[in-house]
Symmetry: C2
Subunit: 69 residues, 2 copies
Protein backbone atom coordinates (compact mmCIF):
# COMPACT_ATOMS: atom_id res chain seq x y z
CA UNK A 1 0.00 0.00 0.00
CA UNK A 2 1.37 3.32 -1.02
CA UNK A 3 0.98 6.30 1.18
CA UNK A 4 -2.01 7.47 -0.86
CA UNK A 5 -3.76 4.16 -0.38
CA UNK A 6 -3.22 4.28 3.36
CA UNK A 7 -4.87 7.67 3.38
CA UNK A 8 -7.70 6.39 1.26
CA UNK A 9 -8.20 3.43 3.57
CA UNK A 10 -8.64 5.69 6.57
CA UNK A 11 -10.84 8.15 4.75
CA UNK A 12 -13.07 5.47 3.29
CA UNK A 13 -13.42 3.71 6.60
CA UNK A 14 -14.27 6.97 8.31
CA UNK A 15 -16.90 7.78 5.70
CA UNK A 16 -18.39 4.31 5.93
CA UNK A 17 -18.78 4.72 9.67
CA UNK A 18 -20.34 8.14 9.17
CA UNK A 19 -17.76 9.85 11.28
CA UNK A 20 -16.63 13.40 10.65
CA UNK A 21 -13.02 14.53 10.85
CA UNK A 22 -13.89 16.36 14.02
CA UNK A 23 -15.38 13.26 15.62
CA UNK A 24 -12.45 11.12 14.62
CA UNK A 25 -10.02 13.70 15.93
CA UNK A 26 -11.77 13.59 19.30
CA UNK A 27 -12.13 9.82 19.36
CA UNK A 28 -8.55 9.11 18.40
CA UNK A 29 -6.82 11.86 20.31
CA UNK A 30 -5.19 13.16 17.15
CA UNK A 31 -5.37 16.89 16.59
CA UNK A 32 -7.97 18.02 14.10
CA UNK A 33 -5.39 19.99 12.13
CA UNK A 34 -3.20 16.90 11.90
CA UNK A 35 -6.06 14.77 10.63
CA UNK A 36 -7.11 17.35 8.07
CA UNK A 37 -3.57 17.61 6.82
CA UNK A 38 -3.24 13.86 6.64
CA UNK A 39 -6.49 13.27 4.78
CA UNK A 40 -5.78 15.98 2.27
CA UNK A 41 -2.57 14.19 1.41
CA UNK A 42 -0.17 16.75 2.74
CA UNK A 43 1.16 14.96 5.75
CA UNK A 44 3.84 12.54 6.73
CA UNK A 45 2.25 11.24 9.91
CA UNK A 46 4.17 9.45 12.61
CA UNK A 47 3.53 5.84 13.46
CA UNK A 48 1.85 6.95 16.66
CA UNK A 49 -0.63 9.08 14.74
CA UNK A 50 -1.43 6.23 12.38
CA UNK A 51 -1.97 3.85 15.27
CA UNK A 52 -4.27 6.26 17.06
CA UNK A 53 -6.41 6.66 13.97
CA UNK A 54 -6.38 2.94 13.33
CA UNK A 55 -7.47 2.15 16.85
CA UNK A 56 -10.35 4.57 16.72
CA UNK A 57 -11.56 3.07 13.45
CA UNK A 58 -11.00 -0.58 14.27
CA UNK A 59 -8.19 -0.86 11.80
CA UNK A 60 -4.79 -2.41 11.99
CA UNK A 61 -1.45 -1.52 10.49
CA UNK A 62 0.63 -4.49 9.38
CA UNK A 63 4.01 -5.08 7.80
CA UNK A 64 4.12 -8.04 5.47
CA UNK A 65 6.64 -9.53 3.10
CA UNK A 66 5.79 -8.77 -0.49
CA UNK A 67 5.08 -11.85 -2.53
CA UNK A 68 6.95 -11.87 -5.80
CA UNK A 69 4.65 -12.75 -8.65
Amino acid sequence: MHSKDLIEAIKTRRDNLDVTQEMLADLSGVGLRTLKQFESGKGNPTLETLQKLGNALGMELTFTIKELK
Copy 2:
Protein backbone atom coordinates in the same frame (compact mmCIF):
# COMPACT_ATOMS: atom_id res chain seq x y z
CA MET B 1 0.26 -5.16 14.82
CA HIS B 2 1.44 -3.09 17.68
CA SER B 3 4.36 -0.82 17.29
CA LYS B 4 6.67 -3.42 18.85
CA ASP B 5 5.60 -6.02 16.34
CA LEU B 6 6.24 -3.68 13.45
CA ILE B 7 9.75 -3.20 14.75
CA GLU B 8 10.19 -6.93 15.15
CA ALA B 9 8.97 -7.53 11.61
CA ILE B 10 11.59 -5.23 10.19
CA LYS B 11 14.35 -6.52 12.39
CA THR B 12 13.57 -10.15 11.68
CA ARG B 13 13.34 -9.55 7.97
CA ARG B 14 16.65 -7.71 8.00
CA ASP B 15 18.32 -10.53 9.92
CA ASN B 16 16.90 -13.15 7.59
CA LEU B 17 18.33 -11.32 4.62
CA ASP B 18 21.68 -11.03 6.39
CA VAL B 19 21.71 -7.30 6.14
CA THR B 20 23.35 -5.09 8.73
CA GLN B 21 21.81 -1.88 10.04
CA GLU B 22 24.45 0.03 8.14
CA MET B 23 23.61 -1.71 4.86
CA LEU B 24 19.90 -1.19 5.34
CA ALA B 25 20.46 2.46 6.16
CA ASP B 26 22.33 2.88 2.90
CA LEU B 27 19.91 0.83 0.85
CA SER B 28 16.82 2.54 2.18
CA GLY B 29 18.10 6.07 2.44
CA VAL B 30 17.18 6.25 6.09
CA GLY B 31 19.82 7.63 8.40
CA LEU B 32 21.74 5.05 10.38
CA ARG B 33 20.95 6.82 13.61
CA THR B 34 17.26 6.74 12.81
CA LEU B 35 17.32 3.04 12.07
CA LYS B 36 19.24 2.26 15.23
CA GLN B 37 16.78 4.27 17.25
CA PHE B 38 13.84 2.60 15.59
CA GLU B 39 15.11 -0.95 16.03
CA SER B 40 15.98 -0.39 19.65
CA GLY B 41 12.38 0.61 20.25
CA LYS B 42 12.97 4.25 20.98
CA GLY B 43 11.51 5.87 17.94
CA ASN B 44 8.25 7.09 16.58
CA PRO B 45 9.11 6.95 12.91
CA THR B 46 7.25 8.80 10.23
CA LEU B 47 5.32 7.00 7.53
CA GLU B 48 7.99 7.97 5.05
CA THR B 49 10.67 6.28 7.11
CA LEU B 50 8.61 3.13 7.44
CA GLN B 51 7.99 3.05 3.70
CA LYS B 52 11.64 3.49 2.88
CA LEU B 53 12.60 0.59 5.12
CA GLY B 54 9.77 -1.52 3.76
CA ASN B 55 10.78 -0.87 0.18
CA ALA B 56 14.37 -1.82 0.80
CA LEU B 57 13.32 -5.07 2.44
CA GLY B 58 10.58 -6.03 0.04
CA MET B 59 7.91 -5.43 2.62
CA GLU B 60 4.60 -3.67 2.51
CA LEU B 61 2.67 -1.62 5.01
CA THR B 62 -1.09 -2.14 4.92
CA PHE B 63 -4.11 -0.83 6.76
CA THR B 64 -6.84 -3.39 7.21
CA ILE B 65 -10.15 -3.51 9.00
CA LYS B 66 -9.92 -5.58 12.15
CA GLU B 67 -12.13 -8.61 12.06
CA LEU B 68 -14.12 -8.99 15.23
CA LYS B 69 -13.95 -12.51 16.52
